[in-house]
């Protein structure tokens, strides 16, 4: 008596690698990338969307565990049982996927004794979305491990598996059931760890030209890359753009707003502003001032790297995006800055010396706009970025300086402008050349600030409390 099929009732599923293999030649980025591609195998042909999350809550929790790890399926050392995943359902482990940490996990390896992580992951994620084992020899859901299945970037599911998953979830709109899955160029897999330099980019972290957006409960701060290919060529090499780490679904099936505009994001826990100071190999696009704009209306985040904008809800891109910014009555070419002012529930867009005011309730631009900037006395007429911070004040950025407007006020607070590098980036020596400036929390933080400086997963993080 076959049990009723189990499947997810939702179509957007989050995932997270909770624990990584301990003694594996595969780096964390490689493991994450392989998980991404193994999930993409399924989402390419079904209406499922997978996005990586950083928090503790994820639909699909991925672990590398050994021996008995407190579920019904203890591992048994090398060989034997290599992985398992839990079918969808109401149980808290539904979708969770476990790999035996005692296996010699490999990727693109000629070692016949290793266990190809991508091949196993594709199989296990089949379980995680509701597929059981089948006897069909060509099916990826055949229970036995038969070695690597090929390049993750070009792998396509056997027809039998496609039919089975279509029976559960239907066909993705962009896919013809009789055709091969879409072969759009996917993002690059990270190089093997030994091909990387771990040298952090020591760019212009203390002479920033920022686009900033405070996202509840996180912050995105983006810093344009060096302006010329020459600057790029002298930069050390580092891993591929980590856009999907931060807003995962943005980069999985959609263009990543940051990488497409040559800007690198960094999202950190609540209360911190972090500047991405990573250089991405091969990405040498010119970034114009203010190309990345972010603004936040109630519960909705908009990001725009140019003429188009993306709408996010939580970490997901809403369906139907990107859309042209002309939706808001904005001119082609993008805007320099935008932010929502909680004082009147209006969203302000700035471009050159003009500003527009958008009404969140009527969803139209207010009459009489664009108008001449600035609206707030003391704020410069052109801006690089603007945002509302957790203290309720609005902050405006231009060049190396920022201006603060207290909540509800129409003029800049006394004592401004101040240095962005000193107050937001905690740069200890503003005159230091980029080569000698590491952007880390300095020794001269102001009273009340809590400095944190750490290098995590190849990233340099520079943060300060609000």
């Amino acid at each position: 008596q076959a049990p009723a099929p189990t499947k997810w009732s939702k179509r957007n599923l989050s995932w997270r690698v909770r624990t990584f293999p301990r003694d594996s030649p595969l780096g964390r980025d490689t493991v994450r990338a392989l998980m991404h591609y193994a999930l993409k195998v399924w989402s390419d042909i079904t209406p499922l969307n997978f996005h990586e999350v950083a928090g503790s809550r994820a639909d699909i929790q991925i672990d590398f565990s050994a021996a008995d790890h407190n579920d019904r399926y203890p591992f048994d050392g090398p060989g034997g049982a290599v992985a398992h995943a839990f079918l969808p359902g109401d149980h808290h482990t539904a979708g969770d996927t476990h790999f035996d940490d005692d296996e010699a996990w490999t990727f693109r390896s000629s070692d016949a004794h290793g266990m190809d992580l991508f091949a196993v992951a594709v199989h296990e994620f089949g379980h995680a979305i509701g597929l059981g084992h089948v006897a069909a020899p060509r099916s990826v859901m055949q229970p036995y491990y038969h070695g690597p299945v090929g390049d993750p970037l070009h792998y396509g599911l056997p027809y039998e598996d496609r039919v089975r998953v279509w029976q559960l979830y239907g066909v993705r709109e962009s896919v013809s059931p009789t055709a091969q899955p879409d072969t759009e160029e996917p993002p690059l897999l990270p190089e093997p760890p030994n091909n990387r330099s771990s040298t952090p980019w020591r760019g212009h972290s203390c002479s920033p030209s920022l686009a900033v957006q405070r996202v509840m409960p996180s912050v995105i701060s983006s810093q344009p890359l060096p302006q010329s290919p020459a600057a790029a060529s002298t930069s050390p090499t580092l891993p591929a753009p980590p856009c999907h780490r931060h807003l995962p679904s943005a980069s999985m099936n959609l263009p990543c707003p940051w990488t497409s505009s040559g800007v690198i994001p960094h999202v950190v826990p609540s209360g911190f502003l972090t500047v991405a100071i990573k250089w991405v190999r091969g990405l040498a696009g010119t970034v114009e001032r203010g190309r990345l704009t972010g603004w936040l209306s109630p519960a909705r985040l908009f990001l725009s790297p140019g003429d188009r904008y993306w709408l996010f809800k939580d970490n997901n891109v809403e369906e139907g995006f990107p859309r042209p910014i002309s939706d808001f009555g904005l001119p082609p070419g993008g805007v320099d800055a935008a932010f929502s002012w909680a004082h009147n529930d209006k969203t302000y867009f700035f471009k050159d010396q003009l500003y527009w005011r958008y009404d969140e309730h009527t969803r139209r631009m207010d009459p009489g706009h664009p108008a001449q900037s600035p609206l707030w006395r003391g704020v410069p007429s052109t801006l690089d970025a603007a945002m509302r911070w957790s203290d309720g004040a609005a902050y405006f950025f231009r060049g190396q300086e920022y201006w603060k407007v207290l909540d509800g006020e129409l003029a800049v607070a006394p004592g401004y402008p101040q240095s962005t590098a000193r107050d937001w980036l905690v740069c200890r020596d503003l005159q230091t050349s980029p080569e000698s400036t590491d952007g880390q929390a300095g020794a001269h933080a102001r009273p009340g600030q809590t400095d944190q400086s750490r290098s995590e997963d190849g990233y340099q993080v520079c943060s300060c409390s609000s």
């Binding site: 008596q1 591992f75 060989g79 034997g80 296996e103 266990m115 084992h133 006897a135 229970p143 491990y145």
Partner: protein
């Protein structure tokens, strides 16, 4: 074919129970699996694994049982028999 050793038989029964081909042994009675049930389970496992379904625990079957694989059962877990 030579009869499987006691060790192979034990391994086979354990494997077949683990992956859903045999109901788990009754811990209260320590009841062994009946030979017919065992043969049927082996045949089912052989069919699933692409082997000839002989129902005999031969070397090819044992080799398949030692092949790395997913931990989940191939068949939905059969309920343990209850005593009337």
């Amino acid at each position: 074919a030579p009869a499987p050793s006691a060790e192979d038989l034990s391994l086979g029964v354990d494997w077949l129970s683990r992956f859903g081909y045999l109901p788990p042994p009754d811990p209260t009675t320590g009841q062994l699996q009946a030979p017919e049930e065992l043969s049927k389970a082996i045949a089912a496992m052989q069919r699933f694994g692409g082997l000839e379904a002989t129902g005999v625990l031969d070397q090819a079957t044992l080799a398949l049982m030692k092949t790395p694989r997913c931990s989940l059962p191939d068949l939905p877990a059969a309920p343990a028999r209850r005593r009337r």
